[in-house]
Symmetry: D2
Subunit: 354 residues, 4 copies
Amino acid sequence: MEIYNIEGMIKVGIVGASGYTGLELIRILSKHPEIKISILTSERYANSSVSSIFPSLLGWVDMKYKDFLPEEIIDKSDLIFTALPHKKAMSIIPIFLKSGKRVIDMSADYRIKDPHIYERWYSNIHTSPELLNSAVYGLPEIYRAEIKSAKLVANPGCYPTSVILAMAPLIKTDLIYNDSIIVDSKSGISGAGRSPDLAFQFAECNENVRAYSISVHRHIPEIEQELSILSGEDIKVSFTPHLIPMTRGLLSTIYVNLREIPMEGYLLERYKEFYKYEPFVRLMEEGRSADTHNVTTSNYCDIGINVDVRTKRVVLTSAIDNLVKGASGQAVQNMNILYGFREDMGLECPGIFP
Amino acid sequence: MEIYNIEGMIKVGIVGASGYTGLELIRILSKHPEIKISILTSERYANSSVSSIFPSLLGWVDMKYKDFLPEEIIDKSDLIFTALPHKKAMSIIPIFLKSGKRVIDMSADYRIKDPHIYERWYSNIHTSPELLNSAVYGLPEIYRAEIKSAKLVANPGCYPTSVILAMAPLIKTDLIYNDSIIVDSKSGISGAGRSPDLAFQFAECNENVRAYSISVHRHIPEIEQELSILSGEDIKVSFTPHLIPMTRGLLSTIYVNLREIPMEGYLLERYKEFYKYEPFVRLMEEGRSADTHNVTTSNYCDIGINVDVRTKRVVLTSAIDNLVKGASGQAVQNMNILYGFREDMGLECPGIFP
Amino acid sequence: MEIYNIEGMIKVGIVGASGYTGLELIRILSKHPEIKISILTSERYANSSVSSIFPSLLGWVDMKYKDFLPEEIIDKSDLIFTALPHKKAMSIIPIFLKSGKRVIDMSADYRIKDPHIYERWYSNIHTSPELLNSAVYGLPEIYRAEIKSAKLVANPGCYPTSVILAMAPLIKTDLIYNDSIIVDSKSGISGAGRSPDLAFQFAECNENVRAYSISVHRHIPEIEQELSILSGEDIKVSFTPHLIPMTRGLLSTIYVNLREIPMEGYLLERYKEFYKYEPFVRLMEEGRSADTHNVTTSNYCDIGINVDVRTKRVVLTSAIDNLVKGASGQAVQNMNILYGFREDMGLECPGIFP
Amino acid sequence: MEIYNIEGMIKVGIVGASGYTGLELIRILSKHPEIKISILTSERYANSSVSSIFPSLLGWVDMKYKDFLPEEIIDKSDLIFTALPHKKAMSIIPIFLKSGKRVIDMSADYRIKDPHIYERWYSNIHTSPELLNSAVYGLPEIYRAEIKSAKLVANPGCYPTSVILAMAPLIKTDLIYNDSIIVDSKSGISGAGRSPDLAFQFAECNENVRAYSISVHRHIPEIEQELSILSGEDIKVSFTPHLIPMTRGLLSTIYVNLREIPMEGYLLERYKEFYKYEPFVRLMEEGRSADTHNVTTSNYCDIGINVDVRTKRVVLTSAIDNLVKGASGQAVQNMNILYGFREDMGLECPGIFP
């Protein structure tokens, strides 16, 4: 276990704390009883108080953003969350690790085990491939044991979280054709991050649905890597993300060809068995789909299972809040595992509807 | 050709003219230079003026809604649009036809050629199966010739319109596996109609995406019938509709397994050839997807084509305005064909963005 | 203090627990450490589990809704929240009170002290006017002392909460003309409640803003009563509520004529002094307005103060989450006061943005 | 009348044709039977086709954007619309005028008659004050006669359009206190224009309502100038604009103190009389408010009148589509007047609802 600060609380630093992911980390951690936010960095807002930029946090987080100084961050933190764009993340994380700090990285830089695959999809040379082996893919439902002792946790992408959790119980079976997986995902616009961009202006996104990065989205190698590890086979998926006019929420609808039609209720039972000790996976009753508004602001992944006897396919629906289980909530869950806290600490909340 | 009224204009009646489909018919027809709206019925609003119920039409359509009296409708109309729920539509349409009037029916009652299939999916005995043979499925891009002389046009459903237009050029080829078609559709909430229903209240739909009627939606037999006719084989599709928080717009994302990878640009050329004389089908340039906000309030169907070489699939995106090409615009297009008007009369407008 | 149940927790019953207000009460109370939800009634959903109706609460509140049986509610509850429509509320609350139970009423039935005024605005005879005197208007910032010993708390309306909190520090001064108060409010659609109603269907509300009940809204007498009590004069206000296309959030923009221009910063200081011990009122810095997204899901009322020297008016902005500080959060705050709990218990959360 | 091009059509150029205002001009003009778009400029998109940037116009406007070259614009156009930011507009308009071309300017540069007032509110020296006198404020309902022979039309702002039309019939009477006018406006986000700006990103605007530029918005001097001219007195107004989560639409709610209560129906009659020949002003029946969704995409201004006897105030609601009557539709209306076309040419459409 880490060295605690004098009040016995873990000191947590967040690098890049003014994007939506960083902001959501702040919001969740501000209520966490065992940690203390010790430093927040933001180039854009250095020397401004967090609550002057985000008045939602007024009275909760009134400390100031700092400029990015690695030594100061190392000095002030036991654990560091990096909420930086890919490439930028790997330019600094090795330094944090060398200083003995633990890191939970929200970027994609340490998710892909094979640096060549990373380089192909991210058009970017990997500058610390030696860390890829020890980095742990931070999906607790699959890698809980490894996360416990990780120095570097690669927090999963939002789309991969929804897809891998929905597919894990199925991909290990003989029930499906592994080459038939088609994923159609729908995301709220907050997933696009918090930078001025014409494509994500209100009037461009409202009253519209659009597919993007069809078959070339960077979450594809991440999904394929994890499904391949789980199945022991080389898995390829078709993946189309869509942007829809809402702020939070991500739904993946997944189509898989069945080798044969299972008995009624069999799949649901299998999923219940698979996830029976999981605090953050909820299964919809037979025939119900997972809707995003049931998980808003919560760390849940809701999964619905539908068997289509006519076409011999199973249709899965998997809903998360892209900013929580799809990013910052999952990162806090990983932190809880790292430090031996109750896994849902700071994350105990139902979905907020309406 | 029909008997014209003294001013030389076609007299048009709309039965069930206070739902969104009826309202959209009124809006489009109010600007049509060759016809005259002669009667509008609505049980809910009988004796109220249209513009007192829908002030958007103030100064345009100030006539009053009438109660439903078949004789009066027959007496006042050359052509009758029926915008009634299924079952109710077929209870009255035979009477209209018997009186010699032409009918364009917005319901599903005469779309399915096989009454047994209709009965299975609609849980409803068909009371005039003898009309199914002469009823013409009102998709002009496929059935223009038949529509010209039809007495009864069965106006297609919104989802089928988007799917059949996207698939037609492909289904006739040897390029695809016909048993691999998966359709994932996203619709605005106006598609659910205009009746008070908790499921479609603002606070239930906003900030949410949800799948519904997974694998059991009533548009499935309609899609399968038409794709089967086009291909000459028995086609089955997986179909999942979703509701997303917008008013208008419908996007279908369609996944199909390719037998082999076509040369770059080949598919787009094929589609361009197929649709070269069509006024209402627009093809996106290579690699672009069809977005719904480009077709809003217009009668266009925009189609995007993406080939995924890695997974050997083609991914189609097909966007329509569910109330226009997906309903009332298409009905007016059918009317124009019936009467030999220019096919885009009353429908000449680009998409309205933003 | 009440008799506790054996585990030392207050037993709480909610009557009418399937509207948005009831649902929000359930959500907040499900995390409250000192109380236990003992019974929930809903005519619509009797015998269904709460989480089957609202899967957002899956794993949190899986108990079943009960039919409305007054004896059972009395038997099972120490404290009863009534989330019923007006008129219905006052038909049952006297029975609860007679049995010795405390009641927090979400309806308007006991807010107006003068039964004739109630009758004029609600077109409804008051059937228990004898209770009006002892009922306490549940706005803790004004009536904390009285709430502590209340048997019946009349929980304020959403609009009045935003207006009274914004006006209270000002109405007691000589700075303003009391006859010049104009309130223009904007509310999310969840404020309209959870019943099927055409007016609140998604497609009717989206992409629209509309004023309603101009100068005749039932919250007017409630606002006027409280401002009159605070000022010691008979206050009349102009009030126009608007519905805007969002789910949660309520902003009141208030215009008041100033007798003279105060020194810069004076008003903000005055407000800070007035609210210095209040846990749920936050003041925006000079020149900033209160925006609803900063208070979403929280119990805060954010207030912004702008002085317009040119026109000699002060413009106040007051933002709440209509379902929290505007309804259920405030009710829980009242419960905390009633039972001597920390006032923010179960309500400790910042606004959730984005 | 102007010199026509050989086909007898007016050649129209649009400078700055890739913002929302420019785009809306293109959309409306693309259907106008008497003019021809001859040149479109956009720095951002020079050499790209309009329909590749805005696929909504595919098949309608496939010409290319040009770089900004004043001579080319002058050479190719009979009439020039300038859809540039203020300051930039006045740097080029004098050149256009000198060459003998007519200009309709969408910016604020020639709306304010007094250059000192302009300079105070726009923090900007006016570089062609000699043109202010001959520039005509392009509100046809007030200045139709002057527009007919104008060389330079200063197209009004969106907020002023809604306010001046609502106030004009009243401001000329003795019925009101002229110093009591309070305007509370709510606008869709398209009003903020089409540039990447964090403040107008979807996730920042959705589920939020916020006031901005309270008492300091630049449309204030424009409103005050025109109301002062109409009344013959020096008018000051309180004005608070708000942004609400919708794309199009603008509602102004206006509060005015009455000297005495007029007889029922009197005000509506007065307004009907005042606007009896106006094609684009519609009056709501007694007691109904103007809602924005009734005017969407149309050039109407809908006005509702409510008298509050209790507080002796009149409450006006005035709804426009900010991009049409609030900008580009009005500009086309001005063009029609300039050239003697039917005033509603190219603008004949009802509101589009839903």
